[in-house]
Amino acid sequence: MTVQELPGAAAAYPAFTLRTDPAPLLPDPEPYRVLGLGTDSPLDPELMRRLYEGLVRGRRYNAQATALTKQGRLAVYPSSTGQEACEVAAALVLEKQDWLFPSYRDTLAAVARGLDPVEALTLLRGDWHTGYDPRVHRIAPLCTPLATQLPHAVGLAHAARLAGDDVVALAMVGDGGTSEGDFHEAMNFAAVWQAPVVFLVQNNGFAISVPLAKQTAAPSLAHKAVGYGMPGRLVDGNDAAAVHEVLSEAMLRARSGGGPTLVEAVTYRMEAHTNADDATRYRGDAEVEAWRAHDPVDLLERELTGRGMLDETAIRAVREGAETMAADLRTRMNADPVLDPMDLFAQVYAEQTSQLREQAAMLRTELDAEDER
């Protein structure tokens, strides 16, 4: 029953129109799964191959980026190890014309969408805030303040629909981010406007040190959708096939005018929040180990091998491909980026102010003096 359908509601509030389409908004009672159920439900071999390759490369990418922090080549890296199924599936459900709105943890989704790994890492290396042209790749800048990218995704999707374009926006956020006011406002706007947007919450158990139980008292984060009037889906975030299926359905729904969906993917952050965080302060090894047994890469590999869709040769080929990608990333990240400090003034305004011209001249003088020394 919706609020408008309460007995007497119509009489008490004659201006209210009754909602006559109470869609099945409530989320699945259990996270939706596809892999490891022993069923012989058909899996699309071509899609599975792409997912598998994406996961293996993603795992290797995370490991390489983490190693680069240890070598001082990256200032910081929030790893998505353990969450690769969400990252890769999110990228693979997008059509070319769609938009991705990632958070700081979603470098991998951007790379899986086709962004150059080095360009995707500039924010975290520290040479520039966004290393790519968002319009070219249809990937919004990786967003550091929590949940602030969500209203952007709604606005973009809304604008695209007003223009009559076939564009869906997929916005990613963490479990902690769902507590921010911007999350609420984005959800509400999206539902009221029926914007073609899909929200993917990666519930990885923690917001830095704070566990989900201290973040929300809701039965699940997917339940939050109900109050806004959009469907909420709950999915096993380590099951790449399931995440892909649920996200694809949500994308299709948005594309065909059905409005937004909130997808909660239940997953786990295997590493600390970033390399600067000490996870031993707030969680024990047992929990981490339990999740290791439900690893997204192993899960998919086991299933595909079991079904005869993957053999040793194919696995080796995919791993070698991942190694090549990692080696290339290492080499390119080991070169010092060439920076021009004068860039500081280049893009503050479309037209530089006289104050900035003055400050640029001052820096130029300082740099020239440095060069002479």
Binding site: G181, S209, T216, Y282, V348, E366
Partner: protein
């Protein structure tokens, strides 16, 4: 107040000690914020408080700055003295509505019936190589809001003493903690310091006054040392408190030296330096041998870490400004 033997401590530890001592003395003092409990804060400033005082006194909140500060307003209305941690400068912005419309105005709106004794701790400023949104200097926004006190410690002793003062204050205080000084050390024991609103002369000199606060204080002290070579004897005034502003100490210094440079790392245009230079000029015009100069961060969004050294005002820029104070030979 409990006293312990003097031992080297970091600014982060001094801040932690201030909260601990305040909580031990006054059960109304509560600490809340993101990760302040089990983790002890991302800078470990609240380390151990949850263990010692329980989760009701030192609370990991849901991740929502407007919610954190908004609930702190209600807690203060009910007689508690909340100390709120904003995880980083730029993440305090979602809480601006609460800060500007409620925290700053409630005493005034209620004709004094409902003061709000809230401390908002904000790790602020650059110089630690943080990614985007982790290095803002937001003091000008706070200063521009009547009803807020705005303070920034520069020494370990002040970190303790000023935070105790802030928690004891019946008015809201935005407490700016210079991130890059968190690990600065001093031989130190908890002791009272000059009250909020009082500036301190950190180094006496005759040639000119450097007016500064927070993370720029050590820069100015270093510049003053370096300036000796040029024959300049620089005085360094540490403001400690931007609101209230200590006109008296600042102007007494400028009248003695006749020259002044304001140094801070936030943007210069519309920044704190403009207000300070104007006040000094209004009060000391006939004593000034030169216009009051400003050395500030550029008027740009905070740059990526690999370029931040070009943005942050360092010793050389301070000395260049001093050199421009029209010296007579």
């Amino acid at each position: 107040m409990t006293t312990v033997a003097a031992k080297p401590a970091t600014m982060a530890q001094a801040l932690q000690r201030a909260m601990r001592d305040a909580m031990a003395e006054d059960p109304r003092v509560h600490v809340l914020g993101e990760d302040v409990g089990t983790l002890g804060g991302v800078f470990r400033v609240t380390d151990g408080l949850a263990k010692e005082f329980g989760e009701d006194r030192c609370t990991d909140t849901p991740l929502a700055e407007a919610g954190i500060l908004g609930t702190a307003v209600g807690m203060a209305m009910y007689g508690l003295r909340p100390v709120v941690e904003m995880q980083f400068d730029a993440f305090a912005y979602p809480a601006f509505e609460q800060l500007i419309s409620h925290v700053a105005k409630t005493r005034n709106r209620t004709r004094g019936a409902m003061p709000l004794p809230i401390v908002v701790r904000v790790p602020y400023g650059g110089g630690i190589g943080g990614v985007e949104h982790h290095s803002d200097s937001s003091e000008a926004y706070y200063m521009a809001t009547p009803g807020l006190q705005v303070v920034a410690p520069a020494t370990v002793a002040d970190a303790y003493g000023l935070l105790r003062e802030a928690i004891a204050s019946d008015d809201p205080v935005v407490f700016l903690e210079p991130k890059r000084l968190y690990w600065s050390k001093a031989d130190w024991s908890p002791h009272p310091v000059e009250p909020i609103g009082r500036a301190v002369v950190r180094r006496t000199g005759r040639s000119a006054t450097l007016i500064t606060y927070g993370p720029s204080v050590p820069v100015c002290l270093e510049a003053a040392e370096a300036a000796k070579e040029e024959g300049w004897d620089l005085e360094v005034v540490d403001l400690r408190s931007l609101v209230p502003f200590d006109d008296e100490t600042v102007c007494a210094s400028v009248r003695r030296t006749g020259r002044a440079v304001v140094v801070h790392e936030s943007a210069g245009f519309g920044g704190p330096g403009g207000e300070i230079a104007a006040r000094v000029t209004e009060r000391c015009f006939h004593h000034l041998e030169a216009p009051v100069l400003r050395v500030a961060g550029f008027d740009i969004p905070y740059p990526p870490p690999m370029l931040e050294r070009h943005h942050l005002p360092g010793v050389d820029r301070v000395l260049d400004a001093v050199a421009r104070l029209q010296w007579e030979v």
